[in-house]
């Protein structure tokens, strides 16, 4: 069989066809609201963020100090053993300079790009990165391996969320 010999179907239409009402369609916006349980490990993680601290969880078998903390070690598949405070400093494992918002819309002219990064937190096991944002840095100055430190919201503004850390900024050393 060669594909060329078949009628392959699928009829393309343009987005403008839809906007101009040339096609019948039924739009619907879902109205779904979720409240997620934090669980034991993330609950404690968020509580500590509110206090301006980062807490991890250690498995005494593989000796990994894990972020985000978890009540079971996915590697050893057993309960983890203890809470360990780690630093609010770290190292940029990788980063991006992003001009797109979460819904695929583009950032507006004059707005700064989003600067997501994977940050390996000091005191956690090597390679133990978390997703966060960079700030107080020009995009062209960001380097992999760069040392960074958390910039926290003011204590009274913290709400027990990952966004209690506003972003990570470069530090010397």
């Amino acid at each position: 069989m060669e594909l060329e010999k078949f009628e392959l179907g699928a009829t393309h239409y343009k987005e403008s066809d839809l906007k101009e009402g040339k096609l019948l369609s039924l739009p619907w916006t879902p109205n779904l609201k979720y409240a997620w349980d934090n669980g034991v490990a993330i609950g404690r993680y968020l509580t500590e963020l509110k206090e301006g601290r980062i807490i991890a969880r250690k498995c005494n078998k593989c000796r990994r100090i894990m972020l985000p903390p978890r009540m079971f070690c996915e590697l050893c598949w057993r309960p983890t053993d203890e809470w360990v405070y780690v630093q609010d400093t770290g190292r940029v494992n990788t980063f991006s300079i992003c001009y797109v918002n979460w819904d695929a819309s583009r950032i507006k002219k004059g707005e700064k790009p989003h600067l997501p990064a994977v940050i390996e937190i000091d005191g956690a096991s090597p390679g133990m990165g978390i997703l966060h944002l960079l700030g107080e840095v020009k995009p062209e100055d960001i380097k992999i391996g760069m040392r960074v430190q958390a910039v926290w919201k003011k204590p009274e503004e913290r709400e027990g969320a990952i966004t209690d850390i506003l972003y990570f900024k470069p530090v010397r050393g």
């Binding site: 979720y34 979460w102 390679g127 997703l131």
Partner: protein
């Protein structure tokens, strides 16, 4: 363990388009009907159906497997849907393989259907919920972040440039010019890729495959049945799949271990000792251009950090020593998530039968591979095919 041999005996595919008037069911029906027609079977000859389709959020239809069942021929038959994100399209034939290899059924229709256009204005918003709801979603991530972060880490680790990676996009979009289903066939240059809109550096628009609608299907048969249906069966000699941790930021982003583990499983089953010599043609999953290189390394088809050399030497061109994505891949043919992986399996099927038309690679390859990747960039699915 003893498995029955399983062959692919027929295939079907729709055009891949940005927005299809047809519903997902209608697309599934078109691909499935063509797959049956291609090998002279009817739905009466099909004993069970395996359906692959990716997130329900694209279509806004919860339990999409049930929704798509009638178009897929799953009505009053053993029917099952599974879903491992972008890995679905190669997991679907693996899933079908279970059914036939186990001895439970002699024939299985495998269908993959995807409509990304139902989600307005763009399915990108639906991807936000892939990220951890508490520790990541509040940062307003877009899915492109994880690819940009992974691509940057891959480039940095091995000293690979954006110019070099762009060559994958140039190659695949050009290959797609010979694929009748192709959505984005194009003759472009490295400069075109580099000059296209920067979405999330280092990812430009032309580094990325398009959002697509489309469907694909294959017919699987046990050995004795396959030999009655066709004198050119293509055997599924190895299958492998593997899922890595969802704590994606804690992984080595420069190397896809989950792909390696899946590939090793498939190679062991197929008796492949030296994949670089024995796998003559491959369709690694390429939703982003760097992923073709990244996956060639995970598949052990190139040494770590060295896939780019094969690309620069022209080895991965259709007329090269080791053609990669001769179909045009996700970058060129399009990326209706689940259907893309099955499109890749179909391409290897056609290539091994010498029926790929203008896309046919020289050298009469006997052994090929298709691979897909997905979930929170953590799954590898691999099939090894031989004629």
């Amino acid at each position: 363990m003893a498995y029955r041999r399983v062959a692919i005996v027929g295939a079907g595919i729709t055009k891949f388009v940005r927005r299809a008037q047809e519903t997902g069911k209608e697309l599934a029906f078109q691909a499935a009907k063509m797959a049956l027609d291609s090998c002279g079977l009817t739905m009466k000859d099909i004993e069970c159906v395996s359906l692959g389709t990716a997130p329900d959020a694209f279509d806004g239809v919860h339990m999409k497997g049930e929704y798509l069942s009638d178009g897929s021929g799953g009505w009053r038959k053993p029917y099952m849907r599974h879903f491992v994100g972008g890995g679905t399209g190669v997991f679907a034939p693996i899933h079908g393989w279970f059914h036939v290899a186990s001895g439970m059924f002699d024939t299985c229709l495998v269908v993959c259907s995807e409509k990304m256009s139902s989600c307005h204005p763009h399915p990108q918003g639906a991807f936000k919920t892939i990220f951890d709801h508490t520790t990541e979603q509040p940062l307003n991530p877009t899915l492109i972040w994880i690819f940009a972060l992974e691509m940057n880490r891959y480039m940095q680790t091995y000293g690979i440039t954006k110019e070099e990676i762009a060559l994958v996009s140039v190659k695949n979009k050009k290959n797609a010019m010979d694929h009748p289903s192709a959505q984005l066939p194009m003759e472009i240059t490295v400069e075109d890729v580099l000059n296209s809109e920067v979405l999330a550096w280092p990812v430009n628009r032309l580094d990325i495959s398009p959002a697509s609608d489309g469907a694909a299907a294959i017919v699987l048969a046990s050995e004795h049945v396959a030999k009655r249906i066709t004198d050119k069966p293509v055997w599924i000699d190895g299958v492998g799949w593997n899922l890595d941790t969802a704590y994606w930021a804690t992984r080595d982003l420069a190397y896809p271990r989950y792909v390696e583990k899946a590939a090793r499983m498939a190679y062991e089953m197929a008796g492949i000792k030296e994949p670089q010599k024995e796998i003559e043609i491959a369709e690694p999953y390429d939703p982003f251009d760097y992923k073709e290189l990244h996956h060639m390394e995970g598949l052990l088809l190139a040494d770590r950090g060295k896939a780019v050399e094969m690309l620069l030497d022209g080895k991965t061109q259709r007329d090269g020593d080791r053609p990669m994505c001769p179909s045009g891949g996700a970058l060129g043919v399009g990326n209706p998530i689940a259907a893309t992986g099955l499109m890749k399996v179909i391409e290897i099927f056609l290539q091994l039968r010498g029926e790929a038309g203008k896309r046919q690679v020289p050298g009469n390859p006997r052994c090929g591979l298709a691979q897909a990747w997905g979930d929170l960039m953590q799954v590898g699915t691999v099939v090894v095919l031989r004629r």
